[in-house]
């Protein structure tokens, strides 16, 4: 089910509107994107190998959008691309951790390819990461094209790369070409084209993101006692406030506060004539990097002014005119952008800020921002507003609440009393003092229910007659009028359609209003696209600026640990297969962790059978201890975190199938025993078990000999060593037979789980340990293969004792054979024939004579045989010849017939002519 749903989600944008069912689904999708008006900035991840021009591209794009120059690029950069649209650019380092994190959050991935080198390993790694974390939109960017001087060669390589890129991404994705650099930026026209495609792109919904809200932090501040504040946009979906947060790559933390603050790159909602942005509205927000002349350090901010271009006006103004001028000045100042005003103010200062700070406590750098507490004033206002709104709502909805008989009854008509919302959530007294039982209404008299007749279908028929008749007449008239109106409406269908569209729009608006109402009513809901501030106390781990800071909400049930069964396949480009019980790093959901999986395959009877290694080109299952994630979530395995690019780093990819707290993975175990006493079909077997208790556990179990005789384990026996037992077979077994008992042993799955953080110490694989400590591979002489020498068994001839023979029935007795005369003679001769060496001369003569006579006889027989063969040959030849003759005759006869036919036809034709 979930798979098919996922497919549907992917298909959503290409649904044809005329198909009703799909239309419904599309409507549902719309409902899902209820907060369309408040979209989070489009998250564009720029990825590529070192030296492929990632930073230059971001700088060029920022310059294109805002005209600002970024000197040093660190962290995310948000720009306003048009009035309704914002874009965040993030550069992706070639570290595998950052790559996998950014592949989970990206709305659009720009994949940079250095044309002079070609496709590099990182590109393929990143593509396979994207593939398994829900494929977002992808664009390829080919740089360093000026490497090719020859035009023909350039065209060829462009074509080649385009083909390969389409093959790797599955087609439909654009590949851009960026020409040479000019003043450290790409050409204007190229960037313009790219920016256009970025701004019109439709975001493909990725299931993981539509269900998991997160904040990609732009900026952070570390205060005293490791209190750290993060700022960023809520992305993915609506954020429901939770006490915990998962800092991707750092661990879980409790939130101290979570507030909405002033959006640095707000959407411009007021509709004006100009569609394009004013220069003052072109904003870039890159708090961690240095933009233009402004550079922000960890401790201070610097403004570089290359030349004093302007002078202060006040000095040259006469005293008389000063008042008017000042007024004008103030007006002008208000119009000036914030930055310019600030610089001017700073220029007028005689003392540094630090000195001023010592004197006064409440210095305001920007309006609304207090330096000390760093709490935007807007937030306070916001809360006040919310409070006011809530009060208003309450005043409207104040209801009289009657507490009676274990229930609360809101009655809207009467005087003001308490609020139901308050009663439920703020009044902390336990109302309930008994376990939930069914509510039994207090019954009043039968007459008192007369008034509720109108709640029934038949209700209005029961009213008095006179009024009813009038009503009915009125109704009839109204219906007639309606009919007429309907006819009119039918005439102009176009209007109807418009109305429908309006209706759907209105419905959508209503839904939007509902959502807004809920989010504004202080229930801890934050729409996506809101700029929030998150304070975490005791944030102990260190932050690297170039790594993405993703703060994800820890979802219900997904922070639990347990065993997960996944379908896994080794990546075709990873050099070695994976071994069971070797630690591996898995990136699943938001988390990356090291765990010890075991691999298994499923037998036809649903048994999970342990395998030592993953198959080379096939899927298998893996079971490991880790974080729960919904079924169908993709995951990526790596073997190490090192950034050495000697190997393809993505070891395997997979998908989550099942979660449970225990899995039965079985391994085959053959118990071997040997018989020490055999009585008919019964045998006593030793060496299979160690004690009679063990035997008792296996009573009734199936056993088998090497030769294939089947049997059962019966009972432990007192004969023989401890653990020997009596068994019966379907036939008598040999003493030399081995007896097997086939059993299955449950494999132990390690409960090992280690979250990957900045300075995590990873568990080493056996191979790494061997390498490190110079331990050679364990050598077991038993495990090596040896040539088997098989000596053929010599059985003694069957001898039946005379005593036994006499007692045998006649049928089985050895019979005396009566010989013919000739046979008797031959026997006699053979008996009497002398042995060669002991022969006398006369005997020799006799012997040679017999031999010669024999040769003559043999010769004669040979000749006779040859003659017979010749005769046969002649006969065969004769038969053959006759057949040939016959066939020839037939052929000639046919030819003659055809000739005759032909002649006849010719004659006929002549006659006709």
């Amino acid at each position: 089910m979930s798979d098919s749903e996922e497919e549907q989600v992917k298909q959503a944008p290409i649904i044809k509107p005329h198909q009703k069912q799909q239309k419904d689904f599309y409507a549902e999708q719309l409902q899902a994107n209820e907060e369309a008006e408040s979209q989070a900035p489009l998250l564009v991840v720029v990825q590529g190998p070192k030296g492929s021009g990632k930073t230059t591209l971001i700088k060029s794009l920022v310059k294109h959008y805002t005209g600002q120059k970024i000197k040093k690029l660190v962290g995310p950069v948000t720009v306003r691309s048009n009035k309704q649209h914002r874009v965040t650019f993030v550069e992706c380092p070639s570290d595998i951790n950052a790559m996998s994190d950014l592949s989970k959050v990206a709305d659009l991935a720009l994949i940079m390819i250095d044309a002079s080198i070609g496709f590099e390993m990182e590109t393929f790694e990143y593509l396979s990461l994207l593939n398994n974390h829900g494929f977002p939109n992808v664009m390829g960017v080919l740089t360093h094209i000026d490497f090719f001087k020859d035009n023909k060669q350039l065209r060829k390589t462009r074509k080649k790369y385009k083909k390969r890129f389409e093959y790797e991404t599955g087609g439909n994705y654009k590949l851009f070409y960026l020409q040479a650099l000019k003043n450290e930026y790409y050409l204007k026209q190229d960037i313009h084209n790219l920016a256009r495609f970025i701004s019109i792109i439709k975001i493909a919904p990725v299931r993981w993101k539509t269900e998991h809200p997160f904040v990609l932090a732009d900026r952070y501040e570390q205060g005293k006692d490791n209190t750290t504040t993060f700022y960023g946009y809520v992305r993915g979906c609506t954020y429901r406030l939770n006490d915990r947060i998962h800092f991707v790559g750092q661990g879980d933390y409790y939130i101290d506060s979570f507030e909405e603050v002033l959006d640095p790159v707000e959407i411009i909602t007021a509709q004006k004539k100009h569609r394009s942005l004013k220069d003052t509205e072109k904003l870039v927000y890159a708090p961690m990097s240095s933009v233009g002349a402004l550079a922000i350090d960890a401790t201070a901010g610097y403004i570089t002014i290359p030349q004093p271009i302007f002078t202060e006006k006040n000095k040259f103004v006469n005293n008389e005119e000063q008042d008017d001028e000042e007024m004008e000045e103030q007006e002008q100042e208000q119009e000036l952008p914030e930055g310019v005003r600030m610089v001017r103010e700073l220029q007028q200062m005689t003392e540094g800020i630090d000195k001023q700070l010592e004197e006064e406590e409440d210095v305001q750098l920007l309006e609304g921002f207090e330096l000390e507490e760093d709490k935007p004033i807007k937030k306070k206002n916001n809360q006040q507003q919310i409070q006011q709104q809530r009060d208003l709502v309450r005043l409207k909805n104040r209801v009289n609440i009657k507490i009676e008989n274990g229930t609360v009854m809101p009655i809207t008509d009467t005087l003001l009393a308490t609020d139901l919302h308050e009663l439920i959530y703020q009044n902390k007294n336990g109302i309930n003092e008994f376990d939930s039982v069914r509510y039994i209404p207090k019954v009043q008299e039968r007459k008192s229910y007369r008034e509720i007749k109108e709640l029934f279908v038949t209700g209005f028929y029961g009213q008095t007659d006179v009024v009813d008749l009038e009503n009915l007449e009125k109704q009839m008239e109204e219906e007639e009028q309606e009919d007429k109106e309907q006819e009119q409406e039918n005439k102009d269908n176009n209007q109807n359609q418009k109305d429908e569209n309006q209706n759907s729009k209105e419905k959508q608006q209503e839904r939007q209003q509902l959502v807004n109402q809920l989010t504004n009513s202080n229930l801890g809901l934050y729409k996506k696209g809101t700029y929030v501030k998150i304070v975490i106390k005791d944030f102990s781990s260190s932050i690297k600026d170039e790594y993405p800071m993703i703060l994800a909400r820890s979802e219900v049930g997904e922070d639990n640990l347990g065993f997960i069964k996944i379908r896994i396949k080794k990546h075709r480009w990873h050099s070695n297969i994976l071994k069971s019980n070797d630690p591996i790093i898995i990136s699943l959901g938001w988390r990356r962790f090291q765990t010890i999986p075991i691999y298994c395959v499923q037998d036809p009877n649903d048994r999970l059978r342990f395998v030592k290694y993953t198959p080379e080109y096939d899927y298998c299952y893996a079971i490991f201890y880790g974080n729960f994630a919904p079924q169908g979530t993709g995951l990526v395995c790596t073997q190490s975190l090192s950034n050495k690019l000697s190997k393809f780093r993505v070891a395997a990819t997979g998908v989550v199938l099942e979660m449970n707290h225990q899995f039965d993975v079985m391994k085959k175990l053959k118990l071997v025993g040997e018989p020490f006493k055999v009585i008919k079909n019964t045998a006593f077997i030793k060496g299979m078990f160690n004690s009679s208790l063990e035997v008792a556990k296996f009573q009734g179990g199936l056993i088998k000999t090497v030769s294939g005789l089947r049997g059962h384990i019966k009972k432990p026996s007192k004969l023989g060593p401890d653990g020997s037992f009596r068994a019966t077979f379907e036939d008598k077994i040999q003493m030399s037979d081995l007896v097997f008992c086939r059993t299955w042993v449950r494999m132990h799955i390690e409960r090992f789980y280690r979250l990957i953080t900045n300075n995590v110490k990873l568990m080493k694989t056996m191979w790494e340990l061997r390498q490190e400590k110079q331990i050679p591979l364990e050598f077991k002489p038993d495990s090596t293969y040896q040539d088997q020498e098989r000596v053929p068994v010599k059985f003694a001839p069957l001898r039946i004792p005379n005593n036994l023979q006499q007692n045998l029935p006649f049928e089985s007795k050895e019979k005396v054979k009566s010989l013919s005369f000739r046979e008797r003679l031959r026997q006699q001769v053979e008996k009497n024939l002398p042995v060669k060496s002991n022969m006398t001369d006369k005997e020799k003569e006799v012997y040679s004579l017999i031999q010669r006579l024999n040769t003559i006889k043999n010769e004669k027989e040979k000749k006779r045989e040859q003659k017979d063969i010749q005769k046969q040959k002649v006969k065969e030849a004769q038969i053959k010849g006759q057949k040939q003759h016959l066939e020839e005759g037939k052929r000639k006869y046919k030819q003659q017939k055809q000739k005759d036919k032909f002649i006849k036809q010719v004659k006929k034709q002549q006659q006709q002519q």
């Binding site: 509510y439 039994i440 007749k453 709640l455 509902l514 219900v556 707290h661």
Partner: protein
């Protein structure tokens, strides 16, 4: 770990905790009764990896995964402390989030004075859940009746679903049908007919479409039935919403005419004072809204029982969902609970 103090209403806490897989600690001021043990054992039966620590002061409950014993048929004795429907109310919601289908045979009391009857569960509670989970496949059958002595048997088959839909229940619409079951054991068959006729007598002023079935338990070998009779009435509205009520024979209501009339009047009272679902089941409707997908759900309620208020507090502390209340319309955005344990092919 979330802890609750001096709460006797432990059932909803355990339900929320199991759904969200968050461990909870419940402290009791007094021991609620043997039904606590029965409830915990039932939860353990359908789960794996569930750990329960019970002592004199309270319990620590660490939920596992609802596997339903891989769909094998289970038999469970609910005892005589509380009726079967007390456990069914929880079990039906839990079975939505299982790994395999739940097949279970429950033994105990089918009709009782403290809890709603099994008939109300079949006719009103299951349709209510189906409003939130339209694709849910479920069958609940009463194979034997049990009054007080706990001789009743109920068989439940329920298939899991992926997610609960966000639903808006604002307009109930007028009541168009009244259905019901009048059940009894070891009583004269005539008695049930008298109850039914009295019910009809009351409803005749309001609606003609009244149909109350009678279900008299036949005697079986080796089973000692206790005498008793009860009636469960359900009113269906034009928008497919159900409102139920129950009435049983007791010392005060010892006359079949009295039982019939009280049942009918109780239903009228419920229809008058409740919104889109009846007062007993409203807390579960709110809970289903809280665990539904991330969209706006709304429900209109009439009077609100004190259990519901307690349940709303539990929902907020475990699931983190706060409801917006305006003129008895409760609205919220669900927490988007997904059935993590369900098997996929």
């Amino acid at each position: 770990m979330i802890s609750f103090q001096q709460v006797i209403n432990f059932r909803e806490i355990l339900l929320c905790s199991t759904l969200s897989e968050r461990p909870v600690k419940i402290e009791f001021s007094q021991y609620p009764g043997p039904h606590l043990q029965t409830m915990l054992k039932l939860l353990q039966l359908i789960q794996t990896g569930c750990k329960i620590d019970v002592n004199t002061k309270g319990i620590i409950y660490i939920p596992g995964i609802i596997t339903n014993q891989d769909g094998m048929l289970q038999t469970y004795n609910c005892g005589v402390d509380r009726s079967i429907s007390y456990y069914l109310e929880i079990l039906l919601i839990l079975s939505l989030f299982g790994k395999a289908p739940l097949n279970i045979e429950l033994n105990g009391i089918t009709n009782d004075q403290t809890d709603q009857s099994v008939d109300s569960i079949i006719n009103a509670y299951i349709p209510l859940i189906k409003k939130f989970a339209p694709e849910w496949e479920v069958s609940l059958k009463v194979t034997r009746r049990g009054f007080q002595a706990g001789t009743g048997t109920v068989i439940l088959h329920s298939k899991p679903i992926r997610q609960i839909q966000a639903t808006t229940l604002i307009e109930r619409g007028p009541i168009c049908k009244i259905r019901g079951v009048c059940s009894g054991s070891k009583v004269a068959p005539n008695l049930l007919n008298r109850v039914v006729s009295q019910c009809r007598n009351v409803f005749n002023d309001y609606i003609p479409d009244v149909w109350v079935h009678t279900d008299l338990q036949k005697s079986q070998k080796g089973v000692e039935f206790q005498s008793g009779y009860a009636v469960s009435l359900v009113g269906e509205s034009t928008n497919g919403l159900f409102i139920s009520c129950d009435c049983e024979y007791s010392n005060e209501l010892n006359d079949p005419e009295k039982v019939g009339e009280t049942a009918a009047l109780r239903l009228l009272d419920e229809i008058k004072n409740s919104g889109c679902c009846d007062t007993t089941q409203q807390q579960y409707a709110l809970l289903l809204m809280a665990v539904s997908q991330r969209k706006v759900s709304q429900i209109k309620l009439g009077r609100i029982s004190t259990h519901t208020i307690e349940t709303l507090r539990i929902i907020r502390s475990i699931l983190g969902v706060t409801f917006n209340v305006e003129e008895s319309v409760f609205s919220c955005i669900g927490c988007g609970l997904i059935n993590l344990s369900r098997l996929t092919q």
